[in-house]
Symmetry: C2
């Protein structure tokens, strides 16, 4: 009997995920019974639940035969907050190569935009000709907060473009060309030495409000903040105050405490905030479905699952 895989995603995303998973299972030569949320299937017969927190399955208790809960999102704080999450079933976060590439592209594009500030060099109808040399990446200190799958690749890419890169993470890491720091002292060095600070940390109790008034007091005057991790990493009021007194010159924000970002939120109107709709780290169905297929194939032959969430640390 092939294992039963149940897909629980938002209704409008079912067609694209069904197609991507069917293709990935076929390409992996993996025989499974794929069931959608609306299809009749006895919960206790489901071996793998492919899942987003906003989908229809919210109560895991009937799924007594689960071998793994496979998240389609990289961030798992909402899955962990579900009180019905079984204690002994592995929860895997999504590490999607497509998502990693998307995150790298977003952060490199925004880092270069702030670094070169070409918009300020635009030759418009006023007839100006502002011909001054832009800075070079080798003169620009960039910090990356978070050196997991996403942050490590971001730091490596920025270093490859010539930036002077510091990276900070909870546990010590090694990345060629990047000064890797950890712990409280490492955080303070990263904050105080980063003219552009790119943040890709997960949301955990230890990262909430990491970027608060104290942090903005340590960054170089006129620094730029880019947040593509989670909205809760930033103390919104402290960031607005730092923007208004010039300690922080600009911010690019892709994630927010409340999403969609409320229509009346000051981030939408601040002239030096560039806000986007949580687009930096999209799960890409094609590459993510291949990851799901690979995870199930591993589990079915008794190999360890990859990217199993450590519930104590929160990711």
């Amino acid at each position: 009997m092939p294992p039963v895989v149940k897909l629980s995603v938002d209704a409008d995303e079912v067609p694209v995920w069904r197609a991507a998973l069917a293709r990935a299972f076929a390409e992996a030569g993996l025989a499974v019974e794929l069931r959608l949320a609306g299809e009749t299937v006895a919960p206790e017969t489901v071996s793998y639940l492919v899942y987003v927190p906003s989908g229809p399955v919210r109560d895991f208790r009937p799924y007594t035969g689960l071998k793994a809960l496979l998240s389609l999102w990289a961030g798992v704080e909402k899955a962990l907050a579900n009180p019905t999450l079984p204690a002994d079933t592995p929860l895997c976060r999504m590490v999607d190569p497509g998502m990693t590439r998307g995150m790298v592209e977003y952060l490199v594009a925004e880092t270069l935009r702030h670094h070169l500030d070409l918009d300020a060099r635009r030759c418009g109808p006023d007839g100006g000709w502002p011909q001054t040399a832009p800075p070079l990446a080798g003169e620009r200190r960039v910090g990356v907060l978070g050196l997991g799958e996403l942050g490590a690749e971001v730091a490596r890419t920025l270093a490859g473009l010539g930036f002077v890169v510091r990276g900070w993470s909870r546990t010590p890491k090694r990345i060629e060309g990047v000064r890797c720091l950890a712990g409280a002292a490492g955080l303070d060095e990263t904050l105080s030495q980063s003219e552009i600070l790119a943040c890709v940390l997960p949301r955990t109790p230890a990262t909430e409000n990491l970027l608060d008034a104290r942090a903005f007091g340590l960054t170089p005057r006129g620094a730029t903040i880019i947040n593509a991790g989670r909205g809760e990493l930033i103390d919104d009021a402290a960031l607005l105050a730092a923007l208004d007194d010039g300690r922080i010159a600009r911010a690019t924000l892709d994630v927010f405490r409340v999403e969609p970002l409320p229509a009346d939120h000051p981030f939408r109107r601040h002239p030096r905030v560039f806000a986007t709709a949580h687009v930096a780290a999209f799960t890409r169905p094609r590459s993510a479905a291949a990851v799901i297929a690979a995870q199930i194939a591993r589990a079915e032959v008794g190999l360890e699952l990859l990217h199993v969430v450590d519930r104590a640390r929160g990711y």
Copy 2:
């Protein structure tokens, strides 16, 4: 007797170049007599002229003892157009690592800006939340026209970021990860397969008006043009017509037929043209001065000069 080096640059640039050259000569352990344009020096005693076409030296005939004419600019079409240029004195174009990095940063920044189009995804005061996945570089075809010192590094860097890169040059080249093309058929493939076309060609009789109505008829509908080579590569009227009928969606232009770009030029007002003041390929005094010192050091010990201009091909 140390060789006499004469510096001929615009008056306002003399201090920065004098300092950079003095430092570079000292670091290279090179003994030279550095003379500025205003200083008395018998022209026939000058061994090396460090030169920009807009500087005070316009008549090379009195400089009968020149071992080399060392341009501080990468583009040498103006030097070659000077009728007093001695036929048998090597003219060296500037290949400045700082300029190369600057060009790479400018073109990667603009390529990513057009590729991701994050400005169109901005969450502003209208309350919108445009949450759609940006494209990935692996799905984006980019062309680089010109694969010399600058273009090769641009193509290599874009390929490293995951773009599907074609490159075109006069003579065949090999660059890992880049589909290198040459000749007329290669040009047409590059034009027809590039959603974003980055141009870094030099100005020669063969490249003038390369991007004309025929070229814009070959590019994919909605393509983006980025020109950081020379203004003469583009037929301005043809580009404006292609922009207005949508065949070309957008253009980033850093170089123009007349610079500074005239205040009434349509490129300054066109909503889909982003113009900058010839800032992509600035010669950086510190790294360029080191190149000048290295060239003189080579010549003084009898080694061949680097980057000697081939006057028949024009660069």
